[in-house]
Symmetry: C2
DNA sequence: CTATGGTTATCCATATAAGGATATGGAACA
DNA sequence: TGTTCCATATCCTTATATGGATAACCATAG
């Protein structure tokens, strides 16, 4: 300490290891190295060296050593407040970690259409339950918008942005769509070359659901229910009909790719991808289970909406 | 990651090493382990392990690994803010360290009376100048209160609390006083047994300065200038007179102890110790030199106002 | 006055963490 | 397609920090 010379080496540390600041504050608050060592669950020699290191790196006499502990110097006092702010922030960090990693239990209801519910959700749910085995999950398969306001579900996976203001939605990666038909169908009825040709073909479409008609309308193509000769709101059934050569279906590219017998038609057509949203009620944001599952879904489907869709999940 | 099991070991860390949080934030801000490693000046494997450690200790998947870096998960996002607060506080800490350890230069004027200036200040100044060699120090010896308002001095060491409101004062450890006389004087004139006996003795006192008279008056003893047959405002001269057997002097116990020929009288008397104050103008608080010297003085004289008063500093 | 219980600093064997080299994988691009 | 570049994770050696034991110091109590 006496040989401390302001000239030997000069760069004042601007990269003080945070552990040293933590040690500093612990000693300040505990009043002695020994007490601080017990507090931090390290040994007293470690703290002694940490303080020496901090003092040499800062070139400050932070403490006055006595036989009863370490007393802050005037210079040391200046640094206490910022160190306390660090500690306070670190406690917030740890508190939030605990909140995030708490073992959740209880039940959540998830609403999704057939495609998502049957082909995409299972893998996501399996991963979620590894982290939170005590959370029971009920899946409501529905291609109608389950009414989150009436708590028919806690979380919904939807293909459109919800309009109700008290719902919180987050868009996931869009799902590309395409038109497909069985090779045998094309052999028999020809391959459409434009949307106008659709009028001459058997289209597989929705019954009540008007999403396709409205979407096509927005793109300038007028379709009506009558243009669809095979109608069902069950998305999987639509695909199965196409696989049997009944007609042309618009469906997920990723799903159709799992069925080699389906051939894509109008591949050049600019069909907008299907949006993919996860939605929950605004109040649910404060429910740990729901928040955790929503976060999980966002991460899970972050860059591949078809994650987990593999050989084991084909349509066979 | 897949074998992560919520049951094997369960205690969630509440003692997360701060270095891990620092690594976490660095990766968040840099976007990749490699970039963060460059930022923190550590190696990439170190950061990789730090993040793995943090994830295992928190049991959270904080990042999603891609070939372009690490992407925060939803859970990780929650923790960013508190980590940033830690960083911000640490930057404040470092900034204040720099402020404190900056090489100061310039000049400061210190005012002190003879005793303090000649016997106590030199050691304190020597220590200060080891840390700040570029600070020039002018010492104004004066037992009158130097007028800090008129900037006759930047810092004053005084024996009383200043009354001006725009001065900032800090009390140091009091200095015990006692009455002393040379043995030869006591042999010739006898030893006083009470303050009343002082009327029969030769007292060495102040000329202009009324501190002693006022202080004694406050204790119920009425003295006037006429009671002092030897008067000087120079404190050292007072002692030297006593050492020559001229009379009785009231002075610092610590100083008189350095003169073996001086014998204490009225040792039982409850003489209040002399206060010891360091004072500067309120505006000077923002002057780094002055603030640093004041802090140094406070630490230096923290528990021993006579620190540095040794054999080399005796009155001989 | 000595004994005790507290403190800090130092020594040294050891456990821990760091970094260099490397394998690997994906993205961008010619 | 193949090359290049930039990522991460792992291996293994080396460097670093840790903790137990200890000595010295001081305050306090018996």
């Amino acid at each position: 300490m006496e040989q401390q010379n302001v000239y030997d080496g000069y760069a004042y540390m601007n990269n003080v290891p945070w552990a040293l600041i933590r040690s500093f504050l612990a000693v300040v608050e505990a009043g002695s190295l020994s007490a601080a060592a017990r507090e931090l669950e390290v040994s007293q020699p470690t703290l002694s060296r940490n303080i020496q290191l901090l003092e040499s790196q800062t070139r400050l006499n932070l403490f006055k050593r006595t036989s009863q502990g370490l007393m802050l110097t005037e210079e040391g006092k200046v640094l206490v407040e910022s160190a306390q702010q660090m500690k306070s922030a670190s406690e917030t960090f740890v508190r939030q970690v605990s909140g995030l990693s708490t073992e959740l239990k209880g039940e959540i209801r998830i609403s999704a259409n057939e495609i998502v519910g049957i082909y995409l959700l299972p893998a996501a749910i399996a991963a979620f339950r590894k982290r939170h085995p005590a959370v029971q999950i009920e899946i409501v398969i529905s291609n109608r918008a389950s009414n989150l306001n009436k708590r028919e579900a806690d979380i919904a996976l939807r293909m459109f942005r919800p309009t109700q203001p008290d719902l919180v939605a987050r868009r996931l990666t869009d799902m590309p769509l395409g038109f497909y038909a069985h090779q045998s169908y094309l052999d028999e009825y020809g391959t459409p070359e434009s949307f106008d040709d659709f009028k001459l073909h058997t289209l597989i479409g929705f019954d009540q659901n008007r999403d396709f008609i409205d979407g096509a309308g927005a793109m300038g193509y007028a379709f009506s229910n009558d243009d669809f000769e095979l109608r069902t709101d069950n998305l999987i059934l639509q695909i199965q009909l196409a696989r049997q050569g009944c007609g042309i279906v618009g469906t997920h590219v990723a799903l159709a790719n799992e069925c080699p017998e389906l051939k894509r038609v109008l591949e050049w057509a600019p069909i907008p991808a299907l949006e993919f949203w996860v939605v929950c009620h605004a109040d649910s944001q404060y429910n740990a289970r729901i928040r955790a599952f929503k976060a999980h879904v966002i991460d899970w489907f972050a860059d591949d909406p078809y994650r987990g869709l593999g050989l084991r999940n084909t349509l066979h």
